[in-house]
């Protein structure tokens, strides 16, 4: 029950899930992104018949395999956590997520058992055409296998196509197509896959730059860079466009998240997009402190354009979303909490009436519940200010992601420019930056998940289920123990990956 709720447990469970998801997300985008780049390398080899391209393809394929092998099954841990730490949530969403995630598991199994094997073992053993087909299928299949988990995540942020059944305490699927093709899900998928390709391109550039700096495998490095940078530019442009579309979706369905990652406390017209700023850590939604400390830089009008596709539109701030803004016809968390409490109370009354066998009373309370059910989650908030996510973390994560995302296409362009002029090997400054560019890409990729997941707090399911109710009633100590076990396991696996990867990179393609 709420009054006995151990907030410490919830935070440890959130931390554990974040640790697992972020660790898993080190491997996944590289698998998704590098698979496309491999397919292009392999295609060039098949089309040219040049053995150097084959050597190059096999080298990157080996690094792809290492990343895949270390990362495989790390996502399963999240499913363990659902059942143990988030039992209420698991039960409530089982009808929505069960089938899609099972499809994904079966699909991934058959994909991995067939095309992965053909891709890795198929050299000189299957026809060139079929081998190339297998490499492309690995790329297509890997990226498609990310569909359902992203659809599930999108649904939690924008829960469409469902209805809550108070009899079973479950959200039940009403419209599969609405869930699978919600604009939020489409944007999430395209953004995740295009940014993964960008990350894959940075991985190739990092290692190839290191080779060029050391004067090793120069031809392989240059050829790898040209293809990766070209794909990287396309991926960057696409990522910017679908990122902008994602921001627009967020503004429509999760305005609090947008306000948090822009540090917008009070709504305004002609709002500017923050380019740089230091968030005031003391600022609260109910006070009049300055939102930023010292210097901050805004691009005028752009926030309105991003949020509403209109320069002079009103963009609500956190204060409007907490206390409401009648002028703008905006309900705040205060008003939503009032309706949410009616939903919770009706649900309880329905439950009691059903127990007592009073069908007429149960029907009355069910009608009342249905009237307020879209605000159900707000009924569990203790204070309206609880609807505000951690602002500083959301703000910095968003701006780091966008800042780096803006830098990467310039890096790719610089690489292509100097490669075209034939002076790339002389540009030590660029190659030095290129070596660390993959790490920066990882930072941007992780920051993206922080924006998505921290920005939607306190909700497990937007507006319907806060994390404090989604959890299992466990002791803090139980979750702490497994948190540290995962930390140790993940650290060991990461050390294993890095050491195997570094060894193979230092050996280079000769031994392949």
């Amino acid at each position: 029950m709420i009054e006995n709720l151990d907030l410490g447990m919830v935070n440890w469970a959130r931390g554990q899930f974040a640790l697992t998801a972020m660790y898993h997300w080190i491997f996944v985008p590289l698998t998704l992104g590098l698979s496309w780049i491999l397919a292009f390398y392999h295609t060039i080899y098949v089309r040219t018949g040049n053995e150097e391209w084959k050597r190059l393809t096999k080298f990157w394929m080996k690094l792809f395999g290492i990343n895949f092998a270390i990362g495989v099954a790390t996502g399963l841990i999240m499913e363990f956590e659902f059942g143990t730490n988030w039992a209420n949530y698991s039960w409530m969403v089982g009808d929505i997520f069960g089938a899609p995630l099972a499809i994904e598991g079966i699909f991934a199994f058959f994909l991995e058992a067939t095309f992965f094997a053909v891709m890795f073992f198929g050299w000189n053993r299957v026809s060139k055409g079929f081998h190339l087909f297998a490499t492309w299928m690995v790329a297509v299949g890997s990226n498609l296998s990310a569909v359902w988990i992203l659809v599930a995540n999108a649904w939690m942020q924008y829960p469409v196509g469902q209805a809550f059944n108070p009899e079973t305490a479950r959200f039940e699927m009403q419209n599969f197509l609405e869930v699978a093709f919600s604009p939020y899900a489409v944007n999430k998928f395209t953004h995740a896959t295009s940014s993964s390709m960008l990350l894959g391109a940075l991985f190739v550039i990092s290692i190839s730059s290191w080779y060029l700096l050391r004067g090793r495998h120069v031809l392989l490095a240059k050829r790898s860079i040209v293809v990766a940078a070209t794909l990287g530019i396309f991926a960057s442009v696409f990522t910017v466009f679908n990122g902008d579309e994602s921001a627009y979706e967020i503004a429509q369905v999760q305005p609090m998240k947008l306000a948090a990652f822009e540090g917008l406390w009070e709504g305004e017209r002609n709002a500017g997009l923050v380019a740089f700023g230091i968030v005031n850590p003391e600022k609260k939604v109910y006070d009049t402190r300055e939102p930023f400390l010292g210097f901050n830089l805004h691009f005028p009008y752009l926030l309105g354009l991003m949020a509403n596709r209109s320069l002079d539109s009103f963009v609500p701030g956190m204060k409007d979303l907490v206390y409401g803004n009648p002028e703008q016809n905006l309900l705040g968390a205060v008003q939503k909490m009032d309706r949410g409490k009616k939903a919770v109370a009706s649900l309880e009354a329905y439950k009691e009436a059903r127990k007592a066998g009073d069908q007429a009373a149960a029907d009355t309370h069910l009608a009342s519940f249905n009237q307020y059910k879209e605000f159900l989650g707000y009924g569990y908030l203790q204070r309206p200010e609880d609807a505000v996510p951690p602002v500083a973390l959301s703000f910095y994560a968003f701006h780091i992601m966008v800042g780096l995302g803006t830098l990467f296409p310039l890096v790719f362009l610089a690489y292509l420019h100097f490669a075209n002029k034939g002076t790339l090997a002389d540009k030590k400054w660029l190659l030095g930056f290129g070596v660390i560019s993959y790490l920066l890409g990882l930072v941007a990729s992780q920051a993206g998940w922080v924006v998505a997941e921290v920005g939607r707090q306190p909700w497990a399911i937007q507006g319907l289920l806060p994390v404090t109710i989604a959890r299992t009633n466990l002791t803090t100590g139980t979750v702490q123990t497994t948190f540290y076990m995962f930390l140790a396991l993940f650290t060991l696996l990461l050390i294993a990956e890095i050491s195997i990867m570094v060894k193979q990179i230092s050996i280079g393609p000769e031994e392949n």
């Binding site: 270390i70 039960w91 309880e348």
Partner: protein
Amino acid sequence: MRRPPVVPLRARPRACAPTVPVGSGSLRAGAHAPDSRRPLMNSRMDDPKARRAALPVRIYRFYRDGFRQMTVGRTLWKIIFIKLFVLFAVLKFFFFPDFLATEFTDDRQRADYVLEQLTPSTQGSRNLAQGE
């Protein structure tokens, strides 16, 4: 299309065995190795029925030889198996029981439990439900 007569496997002379080198495990004879321009295919492989019959064997060899020729892959498989063992035999078994599956015997009980969690029993909420 006329099919050639089927020759039982036992009746086939040894010379009709595929000429694919031992350990190559090719799924398709005459694969794309630059040193294998000559199709590694014999009369038996030309026989569609014989090829169908040999497919499971060739798939088996393909996997077997692929695994045998792995270098880094062997280390990776060891890591995968250790990881799966730790995940399923240790973590899942001892530390991550499915709470609702272990605590309750049927879905009705699970639904009732979750419903209890969703409906904190307070007088205030009762009053609200009664419209007071």
